[in-house]
């Protein structure tokens, strides 16, 4: 799906005072922050792809004011966390890589993997120079002499925009202008769910398949070429680039105290319409999408996140403080409203099957357990399922979580467990031989199975 323009005005997506209110910095942007704008006359912009205007970018944002140790300090105060799903504190990561011995490597991770997510594609399409600024600034902080941009391959594989082409053009512009201190190489990722996992990314850049590795040594210790490697999501780097211009107070002017700042969300409404919008962390979910009575349940956090009942979704906000107790996470900001006409169990079973097939096939509990879970869910999605399916499901969920080299089994279990809660009524209906769904097609997007070695390279 092509990333579409940002949505509703800033005030709707913003759960806190807009620019001009308490904590705002004069001249600094309110929401949206990451969307590229241009002041050029239409004729001049006609030949330019969105975002590929280095001059306009520099005119709009100016040059970074903070670098190196000063920038690290700002990032620490700002409380910026990763926007790739794990929400790890960025300053901690930067400091860890900077402290590790040996020349470091910096990587911008744009391989979002999740089929329902297109926010990384959006920020790379509309604001590539912000991301690439962030990459240079981060490389500077950690003392890296090499940098990479890691994105899924061209438009035909995932139906999205041709990001490699787009980024190469942006990098060429920067090289011509001589603004990048550290050389940047583009590496293409296979269209796998796990391709963006940190160690899978390192593996791919090192020339092997994009499969996760054991965590005895994490990338910040030993990564690309055995060197300390900083891996940051592309949206995170864009925020970093803005903090370098506007400081920590500005960054914290939206969001909550514990989860400051804004984040890009890929929102799929119950009518199937998909948008990428920028929301303040802590904004009510009802600000992000329509939660009418035609919505059966809301999936927050993507396929490693969890389902919320409509009631819960209407009262909860986009922050881990509220979502974790409800059994889900912010993750990479995927929010999907499932229409009542579809069967929640069938949808979950379809996704579970896809997640099982996205297993890297390395760890026994994963490549055995996830298919077993998927098959049991498929059974539950039928009318009058066989007796042990639910009990088996619960047993396997307990057996599989935490026993893989990466968090794929854990995330899948979270997703499945939340489905068993959210669709409990549907499970009871199916046990009686009935399904409340009116529609038979599937609503949630899933990836095609990958069965050959080349699918992982």
């Amino acid at each position: 799906m092509r990333p579409s323009s940002t949505s509703a005005p800033a005030s709707r997506a913003d759960g806190s005072p807009a620019a001009g209110g308490a904590g705002a910095v004069p001249g600094a942007p309110g929401l949206p922050r990451l969307r590229a704008t241009t002041n050029r006359a239409p004729a001049e912009t006609a030949t330019l792809e969105p975002g590929l205007d280095l001059v306009a970018h520099l005119r709009q944002h100016g040059r970074p004011r903070f670098r190196g140790a000063a920038l690290l300090d700002k990032v620490q105060t700002a409380g910026l966390t990763g926007r790739g799903g794990a929400a790890f504190p960025v300053a901690t990561k930067l400091a860890a890589v900077a402290a590790a011995s040996g020349n470091a490597v910096a990587v911008a991770n744009g391989a979002e993997g999740e089929p329902a997510s297109s926010k990384d594609a959006a920020v790379l399409w509309f604001s590539p120079h912000l991301v690439l600024d962030g990459l240079q600034l981060a490389a500077d902080v950690v003392g890296a002499d090499t940098a990479y941009v890691y994105v899924h391959a061209g438009s035909d594989t995932r139906g999205g925009p041709d990001l490699p082409w787009h980024l190469r053009a942006a990098l060429a512009q920067r090289e011509a202008a001589g603004i990048d201190r550290v050389p940047v190489e583009l590496v293409e990722a296979p269209p796998r769910f796990l391709a963006g996992e940190e160690t899978a990314l390192v593996s791919r850049i090192n020339g092997d398949a994009a499969r996760p590795t054991d965590k005895q040594y994490r990338p910040f210790q030993r990564g690309v070429g055995g060197r300390p490697t900083l891996v940051q999501n592309v949206e995170t780097l864009a925020h970093l680039a803005l903090i370098a211009r506007h400081g920590a107070t500005w960054f914290r002017s939206v969001g909550t105290r514990d989860e400051p700042g804004s984040m890009l969300c890929t929102v799929r409404e119950s009518d199937g319409h998909v948008r990428v919008l920028e929301a303040a962390l802590g904004a009510p979910l009802s600000f992000l999408l329509k939660l009418g009575d035609d919505v059966q349940a809301v999936l927050v956090g993507g396929y490693h996140g969890g389902w919320l009942s409509l009631t819960d979704a209407r009262r909860l906000a986009l922050c881990n403080a509220e979502l974790r107790p409800a059994g889900t996470i912010v993750g990479a900001g995927v929010v999907i409203a499932l229409p009542a006409a579809h069967c929640g169990l069938a949808e979950t079973a379809s996704v579970a099957r896809s997640l099982a097939l996205e297993s890297a096939g390395q760890c026994g509990p994963c490549f055995n357990g996830l298919p077993a879970i998927a098959a049991a869910l498929a059974e539950l999605a039928r009318p009058r399922p066989a007796g042990p399916a639910l009990a088996n499901l619960q047993r396997w969920a307990g057996l599989v979580a935490g026993r893989g080299a990466c968090h794929h089994p854990d995330g899948t279990v979270r997703f499945v467990a939340s489905a068993l809660r959210a669709f409990a009524a549907e499970i009871a209906e199916h046990a009686r031989g009935r399904c409340t769904a009116a529609r038979s097609g599937l609503f949630l997007p899933v990836t095609a199975p990958a069965v050959t070695e080349s699918d992982w390279r």
Binding site: G364, P365, N368, A405
Partner: protein, 70 residues
Amino acid sequence: MRDANARLRVNRTHCTGHGACAELLPERVELDEWGYPIVSDTPLPARLTRAARQAVAACPELALRVAGGS
């Protein structure tokens, strides 16, 4: 091995479910229904050190190790 916080760790990408570890150190390892080890995270007391060492050496894939510290 003298570390009070020594724990058994398995490299999940190398483990092929051979199962020798569960036989040599049943106090810390049991096998799931697919033959893969469920490793307890409790620290290894001194009396299990020898058995742990044997289990580590017995793994054909070198997937088992004893990690000290937290």
